[in-house]
C-alpha cells in the first residue's frame, strides 16, 4: 500500500512548468483582486487552488486561461506570453471547464463533446474523420460512451460533469483547468468526478482545479496552492502544506489535522462550537 502511494507522488513532476503566472495583477474596474502574484503549475500533476471565499481563486484560474486579461504581468504557456497567442491556438493547448456550465435543452452528449473539436475546425471543415475519432475516445475515456445519444439535460449531475470534462478532452489538450468541478454535486458524485480527474492525471494530463472542500483537495492533489487576499500563502504537497496553523492563517478556521485513516494524506477535522469535547 505504502509503496504504491510513493510511486504515485514522484511521478511526473518536471522541471519546466507548462503554465505559469509571472507577477500578475488582476482586477475588475478599480478593484484589484490579485496583486503581483507568481505561481508555476508543475507538469503532470494535479494542482488544486484553495482559499477562503473571495480570495481570488477563480480569478487566478480565469487569468491562467486568459478569460481575464491581467493589468500587469504575464501568463506564460509553453514559454510564450499567452496574451500574444491566437485564441484558437490557446484552445488547442489548454482545456477549460468553467463553473456550472449549462447546455441548451435537447443537446445530445455526442454533440456537446463534438463541440470540443471547435478549435481544430473551420467553416468548411466541420466534422472530419479525425474529429469523430477524437470525440469517440474522449467519450470512452470519461466513461460516457453509452450515453452518447442521450440529451445532456436528462443526465444526473455527476454524469453531466463527466460529459463536460469529456468535451474539454476532445479539444485534444493534456492541460486541463477545472473551475470547481464538484459544485452542486453530492459527495458520491463529487468523488466519482474527482476519481475521473485522477484517471486523467494518471494518463498524463496536467490538471489545475479550484475546489472548496479542503479534504477532497488534500486527497486528490499533489500540489496545493493556498491563497488569501489575492496572494499565494503557501504552495506544495498537501502533507507539507496542510497544518492547523496554515488553516487558521488562511481561513481563520480552528481545526485539527490528523492522519487520514484510509490514505496517506492529512485529514482536516474542523472544530467549530457544536458538540465538541470541552478539552478542545
Amino acid at each position: 500500500m505504502a509503496a504504491q502511494f510513493t510511486a504515485r507522488t514522484d511521478t511526473g513532476v518536471k522541471d519546466v512548468p507548462r503554465l505559469a503566472a509571472r507577477d500578475i495583477t488582476v482586477g475588475y474596474g478599480d478593484r484589484t483582486v490579485i496583486d503581483q502574484l507568481d505561481v508555476a503549475i508543475p507538469s503532470g500533476v494535479i494542482t488544486t487552488i484553495i482559499g477562503p471565499n473571495g480570495c481570488g481563486k477563480s480569478t487566478l484560474l480565469r487569468t491562467l486561461t486568459r478569460l481575464l486579461k491581467p493589468t500587469g504581468g504575464t501568463v506564460v504557456l509553453d514559454g510564450e506570453d499567452i496574451g500574444t497567442l491566437r485564441t484558437k491556438d490557446v484552445a488547442k493547448k489548454l482545456g477549460l471547464l468553467p463553473q456550472a456550465p449549462v447546455a441548451p435543452e435537447g443537446l445530445t452528449v455526442a454533440d456537446l463533446v463534438a463541440r470540443g473539436r471547435h478549435p481544430h475546425q473551420s467553416w468548411l471543415r466541420q466534422w472530419s474523420s479525425d474529429d469523430a475519432d477524437v470525440v469517440r475516445r474522449a467519450l470512452v475515456m470519461t466513461g460516457v460512451a453509452d450515453l452518447a445519444d442521450r440529451t445532456v439535460d436528462s443526465l444526473s449531475g455527476g454524469q453531466r460533469q463527466r460529459v463536460w470534462i469529456s468535451m474539454t478532452l476532445a479539444q485534444g489538450t493534456d492541460l486541463l483547468l477545472l473551475d470547481e468541478p464538484t459544485t452542486y454535486l453530492d459527495l458520491a458524485h463529487a468523488i466519482d468526478v474527482l476519481d475521473l480527474v485522477d484517471d486523467l492525471h494518471e494518463s498524463g494530463c496536467t490538471v489545475v482545479m479550484v475546489l472548496h472542500d479542503l479534504n477532497l483537495a488534500a486527497r486528490y492533489s499533489d500540489n496545493l496552492v493556498v491563497m488569501r487576499g489575492g496572494a499565494v500563502l503557501a504552495q506544495g504537497h498537501p502533507r507539507d502544506v496542510i497544518t492547523a496553523e496554515l488553516l487558521h492563517e488562511a481561513f481563520g478556521l480552528r481545526a485539527k489535522v490528523i492522519d487520514d485513516p484510509v490514505g496517506d494524506r492529512p485529514l482536516i477535522v474542523p472544530i467549530g462550537r457544536a458538540h465538541v469535547r470541552t478539552e478542545l
Binding site: 475588475y28 486561461t65 486568459r66 478569460l67 491566437r86 485564441t87 484558437k88 484552445a91 488547442k92 482545456g95 477549460l96 471547464l97 468553467p98 456550465p101 449549462v102 447546455a103 441548451p104 435543452e105 435537447g106 443537446l107 455526442a110 454533440d111 463534438a114 463541440r115 471547435h118 478549435p119 475546425q121 473551420s122 467553416w123 468548411l124 471543415r125 466541420q126 466534422w127 472530419s128 474523420s129 474529429d131 469523430a132 475519432d133 470525440v135 469517440r136 475516445r137 467519450l139 470512452v140 475515456m141 460512451a145 452518447a148 445519444d149 474539454t168 478532452l169 476532445a170 479539444q171 485534444g172 489538450t173 493534456d174 486541463l176 484517471d199 486523467l200 494518471e202 494518463s203 498524463g204
Partner: protein, 372 residues
C-alpha cells in the same frame, strides 16, 4: 492505467485521450459528409425540414401571387416567374403582385433570422427584436415623421421617408439598448429587461405623438404601425431584398464561430472563440435585419419571436436554426398576408393576423416555461 500511461509516452501526439485506443471506442457518432478537406455533420432531419419549409415558402409565395381580383392559376404563375408566361399574366404577376409577395418573403426571412440570432445570443426565447425595442423604436421614429411633418411631407413619407425613418429608428434604438445593457459584456437577462423598458418608452412616445397629432396623419400612421404589405412597389421590395441578402451573407461568415456560443461565454472562450467580437457583429446584423423588415412592412408583431421557436420545434434542434427560422418567418408572414387578403374581411393588415397567431404562441411558451 499504468499501461495506458506507458502507451501514452510512446505516442507522438500529446494529450490525455491519445492513450485510448480508437478501436475500443464504440460510441455512436453523428455521421459526416466529407469531400476532401470539406466536411460537415450529416443531419438528415434538419436538412429535410429545411427543404420542406423552403418548398412550402415558395408555394405560398406563388399562391399569394395567384390569388386576387383577377385569379391566375398556379402553373401560370410559376411559368411567368420562370419567364415563360403569357403577356397578359406578365403585367399582373410581375408588376402588380410580385413586389408584395417578394416583400412578404424577404421581410419574413429577415425577421425570422433576426429573432433566431437575438434569441441565441441572449440564450433566451423572449429576446426577440419585438421585445428588445428595435421594432418599437422604428415605429416611434416613423410616426414622428408622419405626424410632425404632417400633410406637407406626405409624398416623401410615402415611399422613401417612412422606411428610412423606420430603419434609422430601429438601428438607433437597437444600439441604445445594446450600450445600456453593456456592463463588461452583455448579459442576456439584462438585455431583455432594458429592451422591455426602452420598448415601453418608445410606445409611450408613439402614443403621445398619435394623441397630439392631426387625425388624418393618425389614420395613416396607424395603418403602418400595425404592419402591412399593401401597395408595395418594386423599389421597396428591391431595397429590402438586397439589404437582406447582404446581411445574410455577413451572418453566414460568422456562423461558424457562433456555433459554440450556445454553451455560454466562458465555454466559448475556452474553445477559442472571440465571443465579444462575434456577438457584436451578429447583434448588429440582427438589428439591421429587423430594421430592414420593419422599414419595408411596418412593425409586424411576433414574427421574429415566434418563427425561431417554431423552427426549433420542427427541426428538433436545441437552438434556433438560422435558415429554418428565416423560412418559417417567410411562411408565417406571407401566409398571414394571404389569409388577411383572401379569407378575412377586406382591409385587414397582415400584422393583425400575425398577432392573432403569435400572441397565443407567446402565452404557450410562457406557460410551458412555468410548468417546468
Amino acid at each position: 492505467m499504468r499501461k495506458v500511461r506507458e502507451r501514452m509516452n510512446g505516442a507522438e501526439v500529446a494529450g490525455g485521450i491519445s492513450g485510448v485506443d480508437a478501436a475500443e471506442a464504440k460510441a455512436p457518432m453523428p455521421p459526416g459528409v466529407r469531400f476532401g478537406p470539406v466536411s460537415f455533420v450529416w443531419r438528415p432531419w434538419l436538412v429535410l425540414v429545411t427543404l420542406v419549409l423552403a418548398a412550402a415558402a415558395f408555394l405560398i409565395f406563388c399562391l399569394s401571387i395567384s390569388v386576387g381580383d383577377f385569379p391566375i392559376g398556379l402553373s401560370r404563375v410559376i411559368a411567368t416567374i420562370l419567364g415563360r408566361g403569357e403577356q397578359v399574366d406578365e403585367f399582373v404577376v410581375m408588376d402588380l403582385r410580385m413586389p408584395r409577395a417578394l416583400a412578404g418573403l424577404v421581410v419574413g426571412i429577415a425577421l425570422g433570422v433576426s429573432g433566431a440570432i437575438t434569441q441565441s445570443v441572449a440564450r433566451n426565447p423572449l429576446a426577440s427584436p419585438d421585445i428588445l425595442g428595435i421594432t418599437a423604436g422604428a415605429g416611434a421614429v416613423a410616426v414622428f415623421l408622419v405626424t410632425a411633418t404632417g400633410g406637407t411631407a406626405a409624398a416623401v413619407t410615402g415611399s422613401v421617408g417612412l422606411p428610412a425613418a423606420a430603419l434609422f429608428g430601429g438601428l438607433g434604438t437597437g444600439l441604445l439598448v445594446y450600450f445600456l445593457a453593456w456592463r463588461r459584456g452583455v448579459d442576456g437577462f439584462r438585455l431583455i429587461l432594458i429592451g422591455i423598458s426602452v420598448t415601453a418608452v418608445m410606445q409611450a412616445i408613439t402614443t403621445w405623438l398619435l394623441v397630439s397629432a392631426d387625425i388624418r396623419d393618425v389614420a395613416r400612421a396607424q395603418v403602418w404601425l400595425v404592419g402591412s404589405l399593401d401597395n408595395r412597389s418594386w423599389d421597396e421590395a428591391g431595397v429590402a431584398f438586397w439589404a437582406t441578402l447582404v446581411l445574410l451573407a455577413v451572418v453566414a461568415t460568422v456562423a461558424f464561430p457562433f456555433k459554440p456560443m450556445h454553451l455560454g461565454d466562458d465555454v466559448a472562450a475556452g474553445l477559442g472563440v472571440r465571443f465579444g467580437r462575434v456577438r457584436a457583429v451578429l447583434l448588429l446584423c440582427a438589428v439591421l435585419l429587423a430594421a430592414v423588415g420593419v422599414s419595408a412592412a411596418g412593425p409586424v408583431p411576433f414574427v421574429a419571436l415566434v418563427a425561431p421557436q417554431v423552427a426549433m420545434r420542427l427541426a428538433r434542434w436545441p437552438t434556433p436554426p438560422l435558415i429554418a427560422s428565416g423560412l418559417v418567418g417567410a411562411l408565417l408572414l406571407t401566409g398571414s398576408d394571404l389569409i388577411a387578403r383572401a379569407a378575412l374581411p377586406i382591409g385587414l393588415p397582415v400584422g393583425v393576423v400575425t398577432a392573432v397567431i403569435g400572441g397565443p404562441f407567446l402565452v404557450y411558451l410562457l406557460v410551458r416555461a412555468n410548468l417546468r
